[in-house]
């Protein structure tokens, strides 16, 4: 069972994970990761923009690579775009497999690629000292690239 989606509205990961698990009868394990907007000091909102012709096709291509690399029964990959508040879920990746290692590694693999190689641009709305708020673009982090490099061997 393969379910790859971009969502423009708030979602509740539990409502996706239950049906996903049910849709993979006979599985040996499910691993799920949910990423949320961190409650960093002064951050009021996070906005993710995407580019329609590339972003969802890129997620499908990532799912293809995950299926080729790991023995999976199912993969759920759901990503938010638009404006989110701290505490809201951004991403949910869930993998179902006969054996735990494939499920765990597939989620790790998908998350590292989503974080550093997927077509998303992020900016944060931060409070300033005079009480107004300003948007700031978030630059790629070195850590994201080294996380990605783990999968190139």
């Amino acid at each position: 069972m393969r379910d790859i989606r971009l969502l423009t509205q708030m979602f509740i990961p539990g409502t996706l994970i239950g049906p996903f698990t049910q849709a993979n009868p006979g599985l040996g394990g499910v691993c799920t990761f949910v990423g949320e907007v961190r409650q960093d000091q002064g951050v009021e909102a996070l906005e993710l923009t995407h580019y329609e012709p590339l972003t969802l096709p890129g997620m499908h291509s990532l799912a293809d690579r995950a299926f080729a690399r790991f023995s999976l029964m199912g993969l759920l990959m759901v990503h938010r775009v638009g404006v989110m508040r701290p505490g809201e879920p951004i991403v949910c990746v869930s993998a179902a497999a006969l054996h735990r290692r494939d499920a765990i590694d597939a989620v790790d693999f998908c998350m590292d690629h989503l974080k550093s190689a997927a077509w998303f641009w992020k900016r944060e709305k931060r409070a300033t000292q005079n009480g107004e708020s300003q948007w700031h673009w978030i630059e790629p982090r070195e850590q994201d690239h080294s996380d990605l490099a783990r999968w190139h061997s």
Binding site: P53, L54, K122, P140
Partner: protein
């Protein structure tokens, strides 16, 4: 009509998220497009796009050689700055 889409911080540099151009002289190549960006969108935008980390997509395909770009009527070009991840 050729549509140009600016992603991420390039939308700030352009002051808008997209532009549309009608080319009276037919196809547009890379130098033509850079000139249009500076002359008709915002001065300094061409330099922002020249940054070698900026990738270019033509009709949804990322170009391996962006300077070989030829845009024709009906095409969509996207300027893609480095992604900040999901």
């Amino acid at each position: 009509m050729i549509r140009i889409v600016y992603l991420g911080r390039l939308a700030d540099a352009a002051g808008k998220s997209e532009s549309q151009f009608v080319s009276s002289s037919g196809d547009l190549d890379w130098p033509d497009i850079l000139a249009l960006l500076d002359d008709h969108v915002r001065e300094g935008l061409a330099d922002a796009v020249r940054d070698e980390r900026v990738k270019v997509a033509l009709n949804g395909e990322v170009l391996a050689d962006r300077e070989g770009l030829i845009a024709r009527h009906g095409d969509e070009i996207a300027f893609l700055p480095p992604v900040s991840g999901g």
